[in-house]
Symmetry: C2
């Protein structure tokens, strides 16, 4: 059989290693594995959400309300936008997929920073589009504008805060980019970690509402991080109705499971859980900054629930990650992103204790 | 913004109406709504599966094992195939989407029967492919072969048993079609309702294993029907490794939620639940056949968990469906498929009692 040519250029995304794999490969008991690789919420699932899941467990045979009436109502209340401005995806990933499929073809290009969320490239390549990256992993206005004017990309991705680096782009800089870009280019403002940035510094807070004035901008958010629902796959896009309607044409019916929908509706109301997650995070991330200083390597000032260590020529990120993995500590090696560094999710105090202990031993 | 041209030809899929909508629109209490529109399992969620969901409710923050090791092991055991023959989708729908995206473009065509599962057309149109249909809603060998030789379609869909008609194509006929078709065309054998057909008549039973001998055939199955997990969105495709690898390139990471994965692993083991579902079904469907005979309209002999009534010129399917909806009974009007008929899921004895009562009143 002859497959579409675009398949030749696609490498399958390598997800963070699951606990099950470490258990199977290294024979470590599940309770001794510490996973700080996938930016999951270390305080777990909100007890209120877990309760809703248990209460709905016997509805697994029923298809969900495909209009997602209640979830949209919760989001439109939270962000002060209309139902018609919202599309729900199986993670904000899936909204990225809808965007790619609605806009790209083999003649188009997309623009992103040198190191950013891997799925932008993967979904664009699935459509055969050309990938253009700026020189820096930070989102620099001048680099973006130069590349924009040269390539006229169909989509510009602004991941703020950025993953897997943890840095953020200020609201002012994002708006400057938006103002300069013409309406033929869609600007994706991916705020998957926005709750952490907003809590840290107002200057980096961007709301979907303020972007709704632009017909060529979409804001993406997710329940996977601060809301603690990484395993449930629920995210959203917020934009003007014309764009939402186009993306809807690429949405498969029932793209959110019945339990994911119920969980997200509850999570959207549980702001106390988000506040608690952020408070723990802000307290624990200081230990990671201190650890880096103590051991003499650099870190990127983080606006997310993870921290990125840069080893320069002191350590090798692959060696460090592999050594930790054999000890049952899973972190994210950034070698595949072209960086000699690692990304570590800020865990609970106890998880971080384990990480620091093993990390110290591994590099000593 | 300029969207891809294919969007112009796409109509958004209209899902069966959810109970929530009837509650909202007609002010009927949820406990009084009977939904027999989406072929959900009337005996509900397996108690063993519900228990697993409850036990995993506090893992909603953790991403699933993206290798789906355990679920693949369960399926490879059940069907006597290898792990490398399996791809898991968010419903078998999503496997259809991967197939479409891996194979189709604006120059290709796809072949299906006159009335069949709506998503074949929708996913093909998303790729700009041309839709070719045979004259009959049954899968007739001669019609398929004539259209195949004329159009050389990239994909042929054989939905057996067929949805929304309920008829099935015998194993012998399916193999005849497969034998005649060249390797440049993929044949999709969609067995979403196969458990019901196999139980009714051996002649219609097709196993993934026997199709593995053909490099251009993929078998699709689902946990949504006999296994009672419609709301969890888990299905699978089984084929030779080269095809599976190609489809994997179109698979987004974490396409199954943590709870859906846990639920499907348990459901795959719970054959007693499937047997119980089928036994209830076989007992209750007789009542639907008798009801049709009693009221003088035709039905299609069903190999699925639903029955299709054909009204000819006696009744109007839209009037019947709307009248039932206002009484809180949701069935599927087939007018949008070009048929003056309705599709009704075989419910529990109590649900069927309600349906027959209202149906008799509505048409009297």
């Amino acid at each position: 059989m002859k497959f579409n040519k675009v398949l030749e250029g696609i490498q399958t995304y390598e997800a963070g290693k699951p606990i099950e794999l470490v258990v199977r490969e290294f024979g470590i008991a599940p309770e001794n594995v510490v996973k700080l690789a996938s930016n999951e919420n270390p305080i777990g699932t909100s007890p209120k959400v877990a309760e809703v899941i248990r209460a709905n467990a016997d509805k697994a045979h029923l298809y969900p309300d495909d209009s997602m009436f209640e979830l949209k109502a919760a989001l439109s209340g939270k962000f002060d936008v209309g139902d018609e401005n919202i599309i729900i995806g199986a993670g904000s990933d899936q909204v990225l997929e809808f965007i790619s499929r609605a806009l790209l073809d083999e003649k188009s290009s997309v623009l992103m920073s040198a190191v950013t969320f891997a799925m932008y490239e993967i979904y664009a390549k699935q459509m055969g589009a050309k990938i253009v990256r700026t020189a820096s992993w930070e989102h620099r206005y001048d680099e973006f504008m130069e590349a924009y004017h040269m390539h006229k990309p169909k989509i510009i991705y602004i991941c703020t805060p950025n993953n897997p680096t943890g840095d953020a782009t200020s609201r002012e800089e994002v708006l400057e980019i938006i103002e300069e870009v013409g309406n033929d280019t869609l600007i994706v403002v991916d705020g998957a970690y926005m709750e952490y940035a907003s809590a840290k510094d107002d200057k980096y807070a961007i709301t979907p509402k303020e972007l709704l004035g632009y017909e060529n901008v979409i804001y993406l958010g997710t329940f996977s991080k601060a809301y603690g629902l990484g395993g449930m796959r629920v995210g959203y896009g917020i934009a003007q109705p014309e764009l939402i309607k186009a993306l809807y044409k690429m949405r498969p019916p029932f793209n959110i499971s019945t339990l994911s929908l119920a969980a997200a509706i509850e999570a959207a109301k549980d702001e106390a859980f988000v506040a608690k997650s952020i408070a723990l995070h802000q307290e624990q991330i200081k230990r990671y900054e201190d650890f880096a200083k103590e051991h003499g390597f650099e870190y990127i000032d983080s606006y997310t629930n993870f921290i990125t260590y840069l080893f320069g020529d002191t350590l090798d990120s692959t060696e460090v990650s592999d050594a930790l993995l054999r000890r049952g500590v899973i972190i994210r090696n950034l070698a595949s992103y072209g960086m000699n560094g690692v990304r570590i999710t800020i865990g609970t105090a106890a998880q971080n204790d384990v990480l620091f202990k093993h990390f110290s031993e591994v590099i000593s």
